[in-house]
Symmetry: C2
Subunit: 194 residues, 2 copies
DNA sequence: GTCTATAACGAGATAGAC
DNA sequence: GTCTATCTCGTTATAGAC
């Protein structure tokens, strides 16, 4: 395990970074080629069309995000704080959530990418709803109504907060909004010791 | 008043629609020209560069949005419900908030557009914080902490919810999340009579 | 698997006639 | 103000040699 990455992987790595910073319509094969010092033609060997590349980008992102979620441990409150921190880490590296980015570009995306995008949000929602449920049962979370609805509110809030924080070039704006969102669940700020 | 719109206005109207559906990088002068049945060269007479056009688009959007906000009337709870309905109306016409859209494209936008974008969000935040404050004083709103922070949470939630609703091609997803957000303020759903 | 070369198209933008 | 014509460049994509 942890082998030397092949060309396809390195393409996905660079393209992913570009996509998270500039959006799917904001980068080109030329950008990737320049970064990897190979030619555009070589890229097409690995990903015949940009739609193929886009689909692979989301699939990889979903897989990695899911792995990060599955690795989160602790009390329900701490798991949720660490979940928020995943977003924060993306932001401080000057990136946006890839799927939040692509969601904005939704109407210009090829069909296969749209489906892959929904898959990401569905998996995210499922994980979040499950952990909210657990937190309500035995983690001190307080909210009324469906956990799925609450998961959707949190996701919307976090994605929107990333968008706004980037527009103001101020990651702290994200942190503040994220803390307010958690406060709605009665999850105290990580700065206060619980 | 209510004069026949000149060419510049018609350009902004069409370009605005395209921008709200496909993003700033998702439409071209050719698209506008086709819709208005004039040539691309004519467009450049009115807006020399696309950056100029983009800046004018945000300025106009800000102005119109502000006018819509100032026209909202009723109890604090009803004003807030009508505020949410402004977003909803955009969504059901198959559009996204122009500035939410541009926020996603932030890193690819020309500098003048970035400044204009922040101006929009600042004005929106100011209006919202003011009305939240009023609602807390004499409208039954319940929340802790700063009204500005709460305004930012609401804006993030609403923008994010629009993004997600569009990805699932389901405006009801927005409505549900918006109601959850208002519920956090103790603003009851508009479906229940208060 | 990577290269050179090029096709085929669309983008933003300009010159200059009317 | 709007047009025709054109420029220059960037885009995705392909053919075929190595």
């Amino acid at each position: 395990m942890d082998e030397v990455p092949g060309t396809s992987d390195r393409i996905l790595e660079v393209a992913g970074q570009l996509a998270q910073r500039r959006g799917f319509n904001g980068f080109s094969y030329a950008d990737i080629a320049a970064a990897l010092k190979i030619t555009k033609a070589s890229l097409h060997y690995h990903f015949a069309t940009k739609a193929d590349l886009g689909r692979a980008l989301i699939a990889r992102y979903t897989e990695r995000f899911q792995a990060a979620l599955d690795a989160l441990e602790g009390t329900p409150a701490n798991i949720l704080r660490r979940y928020v921190k995943l977003y924060e880490d993306v932001l401080v590296r000057d990136r946006m959530c890839m799927c939040g980015m692509f969601a904005a570009e939704y109407s210009t995306l090829p069909g296969p990418m749209r489906n892959e995008l929904r898959r990401f949000f569905n998996k995210n929602e499922e994980w979040l709803a499950r952990h909210l449920e657990q937190g309500r049962t035995n983690g001190g979370f307080e909210y009324e109504g469906s956990s799925v609805e609450m998961a959707r509110m949190l996701t919307a809030g976090l994605e929107g907060a990333m968008l706004l924080a980037r527009s103001f070039e101020d990651p702290k704006r994200f942190t503040a909004t994220a803390e307010r969102l958690l406060a709605e669940l009665n999850v105290p700020s990580s700065r206060k010791r619980s």
